[in-house]
Amino acid sequence: MIASDPLSPLPGAHVHAVHDEFHGDLLEVSMGPHHPSTHGVFRMMVTLDGETVVKLKPVFGYLHRNHEKLGENTTYLGSMPYTDRLDYLCSMTNNWAYALAVEKLAGQAVPERAEYVRVILAELTRLLNHTCLAGFLLQDCGASGTPLMYAFREREKILDLFESLSGSRMMCNYQRFGGCRVDPPPAWLEAASRLVDGYNAFLDEYEALLTGNEILMARTQGVGRLSAALAVSAGITGPMLRAAGVAYDIRKVDAYGIYPRFDFRVPLGDHGDTYDRYMIRVLEMRESIKILQRALHELPAGPIMDPKAKLRGFRPKPGEAYGRIEGPKGEIGFYLISDGGPNPYRYRVRAPSFVNLTILEDLCRGHTVADAVIILGSIDIVLGEVDR
């Protein structure tokens, strides 16, 4: 720092060199953990040069509820309600990922009807999540409330379905090892069909409000570009990866459950920016509706739970397994090590939001602090699974 007048040229220096030295102090702002736009208790230590982000360090752990330690002290089935609380918007997919991992560990088969019901619930959850994400993203852009109201209106209809099936709106605790807890009655299937058939019309209304909106386009196009190479190296999964142009959807790659029977496309983005991430989610919703219509139409009769599945005294043999599914936010996986006892020896959750946050700094560098909020919104994080 020059002690004397900073604008006077140093002896022998050129004027532009003095101008480069005079860039003032950088301002460090702590956004969060209480901040209306950080999607939960998430803190970003942002270093700003004026309005431009120079450095960004995410700080989390404000919702660390030691889920993994609880998993070691609870039985396998006892951890199922805790998985609801990981990504608390999408409890059905969390349950399925955990059930899949345990079924791999124990070699447990799942009847066909249960597989169809699982697909139906997972795709309904994907609709719910992507709709709410669009609402929250627009809330961050400043559209204070309206798209979120529309999103939550549809979410309430899906939550009514979940509540009548599993007993709870959000924390469903519905999947079991070897099937599902309760067989959906015909009236439920009819209600689900009606909802799904009407969803395209809602999406048309939602898109008419949002997709061509010039404010949304001005604020999100070109903001937070993610290159495919960085996305793959940083372990990004889910719509964020596909918006960067990498065609990796675990429903197609791992072909788990009965997804190979459904003919659905995987939308890919060209630019990897925030607008692409928004559009990918809208297009994925349309594909989910196709899957849902076909699954509800073809649902076979049969048992909802494998008759040989053991609920009480469930002690899988020693070994380990890693099971993963394509959740609405990305790859959600569970890694379990069993030592033959009723509790797992090691219970690990691979949370998509946690890994997707790796490149937050890379995306935000060079943008303004207002863009940092929108980029965070488009990554789609839920602190329950970031911190576990």
Binding site: F60, G61, A234, Y322, G333, Y335, R350, T358
Partner: protein, 223 residues
């Protein structure tokens, strides 16, 4: 995709003396893993990422596991002939040995380019006390950055070469590694309404003592 045995053979051919062992997985998932020595782990990781047959460019999951030291009792039976001429008796000899504990880091690798996986590699530390350094694989796969920080925070494994190794989930002043099997929680269970088992035992430390034989009627709780 190649089997773990084939990968191990090619690995040993490319990195002789690296120490790669296939760890069999008895569960029906049949996800066997390869334990590699920490010495050349980063070179091996780079090879796994860039080898044209494997192209494991996506590190999906980094897990820490705590294996505390175990006492193993082995019984060796030696047949001793019966001097009276009857059937031979077996004299059993029990030997106790302590299997040293270690901290283990498990990496699940997939390939987005070739759409196969998982290939699971394991790195083990020397022990649980002072030899807890492992090479960081963050320069190879960026996705390890936060997950290795979490393993450092919760287990205590120090990753050499990590760009920013500090606590991620617990606060910075915290002094212990909570996910270890021998972690003792702070004592803040003063009262439990529906207490049972271990929780009841923890809460009872704060309850007032049982009344003496003379029968004191009421006591307040300790503050």
């Amino acid at each position: 995709m190649e089997t773990p045995e084939q990968i191990r053979d090619r690995l040993l051919a490319n990195f002789p003396g690296a120490g790669a062992v296939v760890v069999a997985n008895p569960a029906p998932s049949a996800q066997h893993s390869i334990a590699i020595g920490p010495g050349r782990a980063r070179e091996i990781a780079t090879w796994l990422r860039d080898d044209p047959a494997l192209r494991l460019d996506y590190c999906s999951n980094v897990t820490g596991v705590d294996w505390p030291e175990k006492e193993i009792i082995e019984t060796v039976g030696t047949p001793a002939p019966d001097p009276a001429g009857g059937p031979a008796k077996t004299a059993e000899q029990k030997t106790k040995r302590i299997q040293p504990g270690c901290l283990e880091v498990v990496y699940h690798l997939y390939s987005m380019a070739l759409r196969h996986g998982p290939v699971i590699i394991r790195l083990r530390t020397g022990n649980r006390t002072d030899q807890i350094t492992l090479p960081s694989l963050t320069p190879v796969w960026r996705s390890c950055e936060f997950q290795e920080r979490e393993v450092f925070d919760l287990f205590g494994v120090v990753f050499a070469g990590h760009p920013d190794l500090r606590r991620i989930l617990m606060w910075d002043e915290f002094k212990d590694h909570p996910m270890r099997k021998d972690y003792v929680e702070p004592d803040d269970y003063e009262w439990e309404p529906t207490a049972h088992d271990k929780v009841l035992a923890k809460a009872k430390k704060h309850y007032p003592a049982e009344p003496a034989a003379t029968g004191e009627a009421t006591e307040g709780a300790k503050p």
